[in-house]
Assembly symmetry: C2
Homo-oligomer: 197 residues x 2
C-alpha cells in the first residue's frame, strides 16, 4: 500500500499515518521501502490496519489518497501461515447467496469512524473458468452493502464511513472467488478531495 | 489513471499534466472525474499518452506518483473497436520465445525522454488454467529488458528512462497472456522521490 498526501508536507502525513500501524506490528509483517509498504497477515488485523492508517491521514485537512493491492492464494508466492482465515475456509461449503448475506451482515456491524471516504476498486479472480459468476455475485452484494455509490468502467465506486467501506472491501475479498484460488483487489481511497466541492 | 503530485499545488500539476493528453484526444476516449481519468483506445496512442502525462509531470521538481490500471479483453466490458491492435492478433501464432524477443527489441527502440522514473507493477491473467506460465515468461522478458530493477512481493520493480519503462509495460501487457484473454496490469510510477536521496 502507498499513501499519497497532496501537500508539500507529505512526509509529515506519511510518517504520522505509519504510526497508526504500531498496534498491529505484533500481528502483521510490515516492510516499507521508497514506493510502498508491504503488509502480510490475516485479513482481520490487515484490513483494520489499512483502515486505521487511512482514517488517521483523512482526519487531517489535506486531500489524501491511498492505493492498495491485495492478494491471496498467489501460486507463485504462497500465503504465509499467519494469513489463515476462517471465513475463507468456510466459503468452500457456502452458496453464493449465503456468502452475500454474511457479507452484508458484517458491513452492518462495522465500527463507525466518523470519517467519510471514497473508494474505487476492482476484484480480480484468476486461473478459474468461472470468474465472472463470482464477480457478478460480488457486485450484487456491493449494491446492497449500503456503501455502493456507482459502477464505473472496470471498477466499482464506494462511498461512506471508513469503517463500513473497509468492511465492504474485506467481505468482497474474502467471500467471493474460490477459497483456494488466486484473488486480488486493486483499490484507491480518497478523502478531502476539492473536486467534491 | 490517477496522478498524485506531493505538493500543495497539486491541482496546478494535475491540470498541466492533463494538457499533455491534448494531442491524443482524437485517437482516444478520455473522461476525467474526481478520482481518475478513463482512457479507451488502441495500445499505441494509449501508452504514449500515459507516458507523456507522467513525463510532463516528472519534469517539474516535485515528487509525483501515478497509479494506472490497464485492462484488455474484460468479458464484462468488451473492448471498444478502437482498441484493435496488431501485436495482439499475431500473438496467437507466436511462441513464448518469439514474443520475448519481439518485446525486448521494442524496448531497445523506445524513444529517450531524459526523465528517470521508478515503476512497480503486477500483471494479472484471468480465467485461464495456465496463467502462471505466461507470467513467468513475462518475468523472463522483464529481466532482459534493461529496465528491470528487482522482484518484490507480488510485483516487479522497473527503473529507467520513461520512454524505455513505458515501452516495457506496453510489451508486457500485449505480448503475454492469451491474445483473446482478460489481462490487467496494476502499476505505480514514481519520480523525484526524496526517499531515493
Amino acid at each position: 500500500m502507498s499513501l499519497y498526501p497532496m501537500t508539500s508536507d507529505f512526509l509529515g502525513v506519511i510518517t504520522s499515518g505509519l504510526h497508526a500501524l504500531k498496534p498491529y506490528e505484533k500481528d502483521l509483517r510490515i516492510e516499507t521501502d521508497d514506493m510502498s509498504t508491504l503488509v502480510v497477515g490475516a485479513p482481520e488485523p490487515l484490513f483494520d490496519a489499512i483502515r486505521d492508517l487511512f482514517e488517521a491521514s483523512a482526519k487531517r485537512p489535506e486531500h489524501v489518497t491511498m492505493h492498495v493491492t491485495l492478494s491471496r492464494g498467489c501460486p507463485g508466492e504462497p500465503d504465509d501461515p499467519s494469513c489463515r482465515c476462517e471465513a475463507l475456509e468456510r466459503a468452500q461449503d457456502q452458496t453464493l447467496a449465503e456468502r452475500q448475506e454474511l457479507a452484508t451482515e458484517a458491513v452492518k456491524d462495522a465500527h463507525t469512524s466518523g470519517v467519510l471516504i471514497d473508494v474505487q476498486f476492482s476484484l480480480y479472480v484468476m486461473g478459474s473458468g468461472d470468474h465472472m459468476e463470482e464477480i457478478y455475485g460480488c457486485i450484487e452484494f456491493l449494491k446492497s452493502s449500503g456503501t455502493f455509490l456507482k459502477s464505473k468502467n472496470f471498477c466499482t465506486r464506494l462511498r461512506g464511513d471508513a469503517g463500513a467501506v473497509f468492511e465492504t472491501l474485506r467481505q468482497a475479498f474474502l467471500r467471493f472467488g474460490p477459497a483456494e484460488g488466486h484473488v486480488t483487489i486493486d483499490l484507491t481511497a480518497s478523502a478531502n478531495s476539492p473536486s467534491l466541492g
